[in-house]
C-alpha cells in the first residue's frame, strides 16, 4: 500500500493533484461548517453549477478557465447570499433557478460549438490531469489565502454563524463576514471544480461538516474534525482512484460517504455503550 502511494507520488501530475486537492479539501471543509450550520449548503451547489456554465463559456471563448470563473462565481455568490437572506422559500427557488439556468446555458454553449467532448466531461465529473503547473501555483496561493483568512476571522465567523442578530447588535459587521464567507466559498469552489467536477464539488463542503457534527459538540472540535476528516477522505479517495483507476472526484465523495457512516456507527456505538453501562451500574 505504502509502496503504491510512493509510486503514485512519483508522477508529477499526482503530486500536483495532491497539493491542490489537499488545500482545497481543507478550505471546503472549514467553510462547510459555517455554510451547513447557516443552512447555506445549497449555495455551494448553486455556485458549482454557475462555475460549470462559466467554464463552458471560457472553453468556447478560449479564455483562461480559472480567471474567468473566479469573478463570475463570486458575483453569483453575492447574489445567492442576498436571495437566501431575504426569504427562505423564495431564496431556495432562486438558487435552483440560477443554478439550473447556468447549467443549461453552459450545455447549450457547448453543444452549439464544440459539442460534448472530453473537456466538458472533465468539467462535470472532474479530472486531475487537466491542471498545468501554473494552475497549481495559482490554486495553491489562493487556497492558502482562504485558509489564512478563515483562521484570522475564525471567532467572528463563529459569532455570525451562531447568532447573527446578537453579533449585529453587539457591534460585529455581520454583512461583512457573510460576504467574506461568500467570497471564500466562491474561490474554493472554482479551485476545486476542475479536480472534483462541477457536479461533485459541493459534497466536499457538506460532507465533512455533516460527518463531524455526528460526534463533536463544540464549534472548535467540529472545525478541527471536519478538516481532518476532509484531508483523510481526500487522501484515501486519491489513492483509491490511482490504484483502481477510478474517477478521482467520485472516489473522494465515496470516501466521504464512508466516513459519514462510520461516524454514525460510532455515535450509535457510544450511545449503546452508555446505555449498557447505565443499566449495568
Amino acid at each position: 500500500m505504502l509502496k503504491a502511494l510512493f509510486e503514485m507520488l512519483s508522477y508529477p501530475f499526482m503530486a500536483r493533484a495532491l497539493v491542490v486537492g489537499l488545500l482545497v479539501s481543507l478550505c471546503a471543509s472549514l467553510l462547510g461548517v459555517s455554510l451547513v450550520l447557516k443552512r447555506y449548503s445549497m449555495i455551494g451547489d448553486g455556485l458549482s453549477h454557475v462555475g460549470f456554465g462559466t467554464l463552458a463559456a471560457a472553453t468556447v471563448f478560449n479564455a483562461s478557465p480559472l480567471l474567468m470563473a473566479a469573478p463570475v462565481v463570486m458575483a453569483a455568490a453575492f447574489l445567492l447570499l442576498r436571495l437566501s437572506e431575504n426569504s427562505q422559500v423564495r431564496g431556495d427557488a432562486g438558487i435552483a433557478l440560477i443554478s439550473n439556468g447556468s447549467l443549461a446555458v453552459g450545455i447549450m454553449l457547448i453543444s452549439l460549438t464544440t459539442g460534448i467532448n472530453i473537456d466538458v466531461y472533465n468539467y462535470m465529473f472532474g479530472s486531475i490531469l487537466t491542471m498545468s503547473a501554473a494552475d497549481v501555483a495559482l490554486s495553491a496561493v489562493l487556497a492558502s489565502a482562504v485558509l489564512a483568512v478563515f483562521v484570522l476571522f475564525y471567532n467572528k465567523i463563529f459569532a455570525v454563524t451562531f447568532d447573527e442578530s446578537f453579533a449585529r447588535a453587539s457591534g460585529t459587521n455581520a454583512g461583512l463576514y457573510n460576504s467574506l464567507l461568500a467570497v471564500l466559498t466562491a474561490v474554493t469552489i472554482v479551485l476545486g471544480m476542475r479536480m472534483m467536477g462541477a457536479l461533485l464539488i459541493s459534497s466536499l463542503i457538506i460532507f465533512p461538516a455533516a460527518t463531524s457534527m455526528r460526534l463533536c459538540k463544540t464549534f472548535k472540535s467540529v472545525t478541527i474534525c471536519s478538516a481532518s476528516v476532509s484531508a483523510a477522505c481526500f487522501l484515501t479517495g486519491l489513492a483509491a482512484s490511482f490504484l483502481f483507476a477510478a474517477p478521482t472526484g467520485a472516489s473522494i465523495v465515496v470516501a466521504n460517504i464512508a466516513a459519514f457512516f462510520i461516524f454514525c456507527a460510532l455515535k450509535a456505538g457510544t450511545r449503546i455503550a452508555r446505555r449498557t453501562k447505565q443499566s449495568g451500574a
Binding site: 450550520l37 449585529r168 463544540t218
Partner: protein, 236 residues
C-alpha cells in the same frame, strides 16, 4: 445625556404597522422597563433600538454609545437546535463586538467571560454543549454573553423568562448593581410588573401599537395605564 431617541418612529412587518408614532428619549444611566401584553410590539421596539430593524417612518437615533458597547439578550435565539458550540464558546463571543476586525480573545476577555459565567452559575457547565443544556441554563448562558458584551448599554428581552425564582432574584440584583455602580443603562422587557416597579427608574408601556405610558416609574401606578396592571398578579 440622551443616548437613545425615537422621533415619530413606526415599525412594520411586510407593510403591517405594529408600532406607530413612538416618541421618547432614554438617558444614560436610566433603568427602563418595557411592559405590555403579548404581541404589543415590545420585542419589535427592542430590535428597532438595536437597529436590527429599521423604522418604516420616523427615526431612531443613538448617541454616545458605540456598537461594541451594547449587550443584548434576544427573546428567542435564532441559533439552530443542533448547533455544536460549548457554553464557553457562546459566552466568549460576547466579547467580540469590542474587538477590531482581527478578533483573537485576550486573557482579559477570558477572565471577564469566566467571571460572568460564575455570576450566573453556569461556570461548571462551560464545557458542555450549548444545545444539550436545559432551557433555563441556556438562558443563563445567553445572559452571561450579554453581560460580556455590555459596557454602556444592556438590552434584555424577557431575561427572567424560564429562570427559577432564585436565579431571577439573583439576576435582578446583578442588573441593579450594574445600573447603580457601573452606571450602565438598562432596557428590559418584562412581564413581571412588581419587579419592574421595584427596580426600574422608568416604565414604557405599549398597547395596541401605541405608547400608553412613558415616564418615571414613580408616576406609573397613578397613571391610567398603570392602574389596570399594578396590583394584578403577573401572568408569567
Amino acid at each position: 445625556m440622551v443616548i437613545l431617541r425615537c422621533r415619530d418612529a413606526s415599525f412594520a412587518y411586510d407593510g403591517n404597522e405594529v408600532l406607530s408614532g413612538l416618541n421618547f428619549e432614554i438617558n444614560s444611566g436610566d433603568y427602563l422597563c418595557v411592559v405590555g401584553e403579548n404581541g404589543s410590539g415590545k420585542s419589535t421596539l427592542i430590535k428597532g433600538l438595536l437597529r436590527l430593524k429599521p423604522p418604516c417612518a420616523g427615526e431612531v437615533s443613538v448617541s454616545g454609545v458605540a456598537a461594541g458597547e451594547v449587550g443584548y439578550l434576544p427573546q428567542q435565539t435564532a441559533a439552530q437546535k443542533d448547533f455544536p458550540a460549548s457554553a464557553r464558546e457562546v459566552v466568549l463571543s460576547g466579547r467580540l463586538g469590542a474587538r477590531g476586525i482581527l478578533a483573537f480573545y485576550t486573557k482579559a476577555d477570558k477572565s471577564v467571560c469566566d467571571e460572568n459565567m460564575r455570576r450566573l452559575g453556569v461556570y461548571d457547565l462551560r464545557g458542555s454543549c450549548f444545545r444539550e443544556l436545559s432551557g433555563g441554563q441556556q438562558r443563563r448562558v445567553l445572559l452571561a454573553r450579554a453581560l460580556c458584551a455590555a459596557k454602556k448599554l444592556l438590552i434584555l428581552d424577557e431575561p427572567a423568562a424560564g429562570l427559577d425564582p432564585a436565579a431571577s432574584r439573583e439576576l435582578y440584583l446583578i442588573i441593579e448593581k450594574l445600573n447603580r455602580q457601573d452606571k450602565m443603562t438598562i432596557i428590559m422587557v418584562s412581564h413581571d410588573i412588581s419587579g419592574a416597579l421595584q427596580y426600574s427608574s422608568h416604565i414604557l408601556h405599549l398597547n395596541n401599537s401605541r405608547l400608553l405610558y412613558f415616564g418615571k416609574t414613580a408616576g406609573y401606578a397613578g397613571s391610567a395605564a398603570g392602574a389596570g396592571l399594578v396590583g394584578r398578579r403577573p401572568d408569567a
